[in-house]
């Protein structure tokens, strides 16, 4: 079975973003970019399925600018077999991403698609679910544990109240949560090997998808900043302030 892993190039999670003064967005010039951390977890899970002999091929896909090929190389260095780069220059909305991924699924016929539960830049938490709906497939979102069976999979999910297990028919889409696994670091030999693995370059029009954004961003502003308050010296003083000054206990 083939596993498809969409990986997104995003601002590194350690970077504190700055909103542009003209309110058109955030400043991404000269900012460190990395693979969306959830997508590292997806790649890890896919590669483990291959190592266990359950998956035959792991295909990484990224939709984004030319530099997203670096993100694909990271996936290849972690163990994915080949990459597909769908080149776009502007922002692509989750629905458009899902439509492109659907077309790729139609062509590649994977048994499992593993996406991140959210991308840490836009925090939409939509793409995997949209893809599943467009394909008419079931989904296991916010996955904590995967058990692959014959023709079906049991997915344990992180939900508001604890954990929930669902059984989905295959093919299916799974979106991963933080505790599914701990992604590996690519070793130097594997980074070298990854340079030789193939990356297919495509464009959205190859898939007949119009990626023109449909949500209009009118402005991007900075949230109100919290100011540091006071330091207290003792626990008693802290409780006194909470009770008598703030009135919250």
């Amino acid at each position: 079975m083939k596993v498809l892993v969409p990986v997104k190039r995003v601002i590194d999670y350690n970077v504190k973003v700055r909103v542009k003064p003209d309110q058109t967005g955030v400043d991404l010039a000269n900012v460190k970019m990395s693979m969306n951390p959830f997508d590292e977890i997806s790649v890890e899970e896919a590669v483990r399925l291959k190592e266990k002999g359950k998956a035959t091929e792991v295909i990484a896909v990224s939709i984004g600018p030319q530099q997203a090929s670096e993100t694909l190389r990271t996936a290849l260095a972690m163990g994915a077999d080949r990459g597909i780069l769908v080149k776009t220059d502007g922002e692509v909305e989750p629905l458009a991403v899902a439509k492109i991924l659907k077309a790729i699924c139609d062509a590649e016929q994977p048994t499992l698609v593993i996406t991140g539960k959210q991308a840490i830049d836009d925090d939409s938490n939509q793409t995997g679910q949209m893809l599943a709906a467009l394909l008419g497939w079931p989904q296991g979102t916010f996955a904590h544990k995967l058990e692959l069976g014959d023709g079906s999979a049991q997915i344990e999910r992180e939900i508001d109240g604890g954990l929930q297990t669902v059984e989905v028919k295959l093919p299916a889409v799974m979106t991963v949560d933080l505790r599914l696994n701990e992604p590996r670091y690519a070793s130097l030999p594997n980074i070298m090997k990854a340079k030789k693995k193939p990356i297919d370059e495509k464009s959205p029009s190859d898939y007949g998808v119009d990626v023109t954004p449909r949500l209009k961003t009118l402005k991007v502003t900075e949230p109100e900043k919290r100011k540091a308050g006071v330091k207290v010296k003792t626990v008693a003083e802290l409780l006194d302030k909470l009770k008598n000054e703030a009135g919250v206990i």
Binding site: V26, D123, A132, T141, L178, L218, V248
Partner: protein, 314 residues
């Protein structure tokens, strides 16, 4: 046309997230209807009908909806979608699970986790872990929206909406609920608690979290955690506060042994009052705390417990 709100509930009680989404729905416009999808959920429908400003409550009572599995929720909501301009759900793990499916099938973008309603088609939503706020305008056509409930006040009571049964939609037969392991607690839920005390890696063990439990019991607080504390296995996943966990905005948030990473702050910086206890006076959490105590938590927390007893908290 009308606006549809999808109720959040556990078949027995209606979660207050629903009343908050009703407030957002009222601002989007049109008469507000609520859909209660569940099994044996009469009490929930009754409670929903009492929310002020709600015109009608639709009830789909069927085994298919007992656990709000995404694939069945999708077909149910789509079977009703024709009559609505806008469909709203809370940004809970349920809402996040089924709503994007609905949006994709309606071929409209979903607007995720809105913080406020500017007009019937324009909303403010956080991006980059809440370090930027985007004002976005949805295209003409149906709006599919999830709502971050911490920023909307719950609609009051006093309504008397009509309750109407709707039939179950076709079962897509793609998935089924197998089981769940829910955290049991007598304490308030994280997302609705007035006071939260959260522990981080500094707590060192799950055992030590009981020190926070003792204080939580006295203050009627919920207990939360940083990702590091959850990853280390001190507490279950549903304790996690942050960009990729729960977003909370209580009256008081007490952070204990938490450094204050961007991703943690994203989940709690809208709290009214923040208190922090950390032994490192340079910890970033102090930059957002109203009250900071530089101290070893293993001294400060037992002391806080004693002081509270002295002050009469039981």
């Amino acid at each position: 046309m009308a606006t549809l709100v999808i109720a959040e509930h556990d078949n027995k009680t209606l979660k207050d997230a629903t009343a908050k989404v009703v407030t957002a729905a009222g601002q989007v416009g049109g008469p507000v209807h609520i859909l209660v999808a569940g099994q044996g959920c009469d009490a929930v429908a009754q409670a929903a009908s009492k929310i002020a400003g709600v015109e009608k409550v639709l009830v789909a009572d069927d085994a298919l909806y007992a656990k709000m599995v995404a694939e069945t929720m999708e077909t149910l909501i789509l079977s009703l979608a024709d009559k609505y301009d806008a469909i709203l759900a809370p940004a809970t793990t349920n809402g996040k699970n089924y709503m994007p499916r609905v949006a994709a099938k309606l071929d409209v973008p979903q607007v995720s986790e809105i913080l406020s309603v500017v007009s019937s088609d324009t909303f403010v939503r956080p991006i980059y872990a809440g370090n930027a706020l985007a004002t976005v305008q949805a295209p003409a056509g149906k709006k599919v929206i999830t709502v971050r409930t911490t920023t909307f006040k719950p609609a009051g009571e006093g309504g008397s909406a009509a309750i109407e049964k709707v039939s179950a939609a076709a079962d897509p037969g793609l998935s089924k609920f197998v089981g769940e392991e829910l955290s049991k607690s007598e304490r308030p839920e994280l997302t609705s608690a007035k006071i939260i005390i959260s522990g981080g890696r500094g707590m060192q063990s799950g055992e030590n979290f009981h020190m926070l439990d003792a204080i939580a019991d006295k203050l009627h607080a919920a207990v939360g955690a940083s990702r590091a504390a959850v990853d280390a296995g001190f507490v279950p996943n549903d304790y996690q506060v942050g960009q990729t966990g729960k977003v909370v905005a209580p009256d008081l948030y007490i952070a204990v042994g938490i450094s204050g990473a961007i991703q943690h702050l994203a989940g709690m910086k809208d709290s009214k009052v923040i208190a922090a206890i950390n032994k490192d006076e340079e910890a970033p959490i102090f930059q957002v705390a109203d009250y900071g105590l530089v101290a070893d938590l293993f001294k400060a927390i037992p002391e806080m417990n004693e002081e509270l007893t002295k002050l009469g908290y039981k």
